[in-house]
């Protein structure tokens, strides 16, 4: 079998794995679940006792401070947690994200996890 073909098959196999994994975790990377949810959310962040405004939140996390997320809501949570675990350590924030997935029950996510 040609090496290129093997590489293509490996990429396909990885996607099969991602589809299987998606059944057990809330994240939806590389599993072909495009725009399958509508999540309203709002991010509130406090650094050194001062609440950040929407523009500062967007600069910090590179996503909007509030809005409707058509990708998985887990992506927003992963971005905030990923930033706070790495670059955010220099100026740590206390973050609260309030969200509703598909108009369901309101949920809250906090960082640091309480």
């Amino acid at each position: 079998m040609h090496a290129r073909h093997v590489a293509g098959c490996v990429l396909l196999a990885l996607q099969v794995g991602a589809i299987v994994v998606a059944r057990f975790v809330p994240s939806r990377y590389f599993c072909w679940a495009p725009n399958d949810s509508s999540s309203e959310y709002r991010i509130e962040a406090v650094v050194d006792g001062r609440a950040l405004d929407d523009a500062e939140i967007e600069r910090r996390y590179h996503i909007g401070a509030a809005g409707v997320e058509s990708r998985s809501m887990q992506l927003v949570l992963d971005v905030v947690r990923g930033y706070e675990e790495t670059r955010g350590r220099q100026a740590p924030a206390r973050v609260v994200i309030r969200y509703r997935v598909n108009g369901g029950e309101p949920r809250t996510w906090s960082w640091p996890a309480s």
Binding site: I19, A22, C31, W32, D36, S38, Y61, G104
Partner: protein, 309 residues
């Protein structure tokens, strides 16, 4: 003498990296659309990457520059027919690298763009590329399965909420004529069953024609309903379908390629649909049916005489 050197160099550049015209045309048009909408320029610096290695291999600016350069070189290779197979892999790898390096800008439509270029470049079988076909099967299987297993999709709740948040006035008007949630339930199950049907149809090479027709109708309807091409999704899928349509003539292929380019040209620079996009999306299923119609084979006179005797 100089001409001989140049021709020899050009031949060496193309050697081993050629793509059949059936695959080169759709790959070129999608690469052109990426450039048209400024994709390589808009590549961001690595930020909260899906693969932590992107934070370790160099400065964010340098990583972004490499990804941009790879994308531009890959696109140029496809457009100017310089080792297009390798160029397709390079462009697909660049798109994938952007997705893996910057989590906030992870978009499913770009995942398919990356997969399209990678499968086109990695497939060695030429006509009826099995890797690209398998990719479409996975796409529709994953999409259909995710919806089938989601209670909000099975009940129609997602459609109910999505159309409200998107202020879809026509839909909100239509649903008043039915029982609560009934229209959303119908739309949900129509989507689930269509996606799973496409997965099944693309599994069978003999069912390529109905799969392509159903796919064009489905995605064109989505454009009309949602008022969006979902980034590059609509174009990438049309390009993938074109790559699998091996029964059409070169002339029809050229027209189909032009159609995809025309759809792109009707969008604003922010990829918002205009009235012209709606018109083309409405025409797309009929044009696809016309392009994919079976050609009637007329037997030659000598054959029919031989048959009679």
């Amino acid at each position: 003498m100089a001409r001989l050197v140049i021709d020899g160099l050009a031949a060496r550049l193309r050697q081993g990296g050629a793509l059949r015209p059936e695959l080169l045309a759709p790959a070129r048009i999608l690469a052109l659309l990426l450039l048209w909408f400024g994709w390589p320029v808009s590549v961001p610096e690595p930020f909260v990457p899906l693969l932590p290695v992107f934070d370790m291999i160099g400065s964010p600016a340098a990583v972004r520059a490499v990804i941009r350069a790879a994308a531009l070189v890959g696109a140029a290779g496809l457009l100017f027919d310089v080792r297009p197979r390798d160029a397709s892999v390079l462009l697909g790898a660049a798109v994938a690298a952007k997705l893996l390096s910057c989590r906030p800008t992870y978009y499913n439509n770009e995942v398919f763009v990356a997969a399209f270029f990678l499968m086109i470049g990695l497939d060695t079988r030429g006509l009826r590329p099995p890797l690209l076909r398998a990719q479409l099967v996975l796409l529709y299987t994953g999409a259909g399965l995710n919806k089938l297993l989601d209670p909000d999709w099975r009940s129609g709740q997602f459609f109910e909420v999505w159309t409200t948040l998107e202020h879809h006035t026509a839909y909100l008007q239509w649903k008043t004529h039915l029982a609560p949630m009934r229209l959303s339930w119908l739309f949900s199950w129509a989507t689930i069953l269509t996606e799973l049907s496409l997965a099944a149809l693309f599994c069978l090479p003999r069912a390529t024609r109905p799969a392509l027709l159903l796919g064009v109708a489905f995605h064109s309807t989505l454009v009309l309903f949602a008022g969006a091409t979902f980034g590059f999704f609509y174009f990438a899928l049309l390009a993938a379908y074109l790559a699998l349509a091996d029964e059409i003539t070169p002339r029809v292929r050229a027209l189909a390629t032009g159609f995809i380019a025309l759809v792109g040209a009707t969008l604003t620079h922010r990829m918002e649909v205009t009235w012209a996009t709606y018109v083309l999306a409405a025409l797309a299923p009929a044009l696809a049916a016309l392009a994919l119609r079976r050609r009637r084979v007329i037997p030659e006179a000598s054959e029919s005489v031989a048959t009679e005797h």
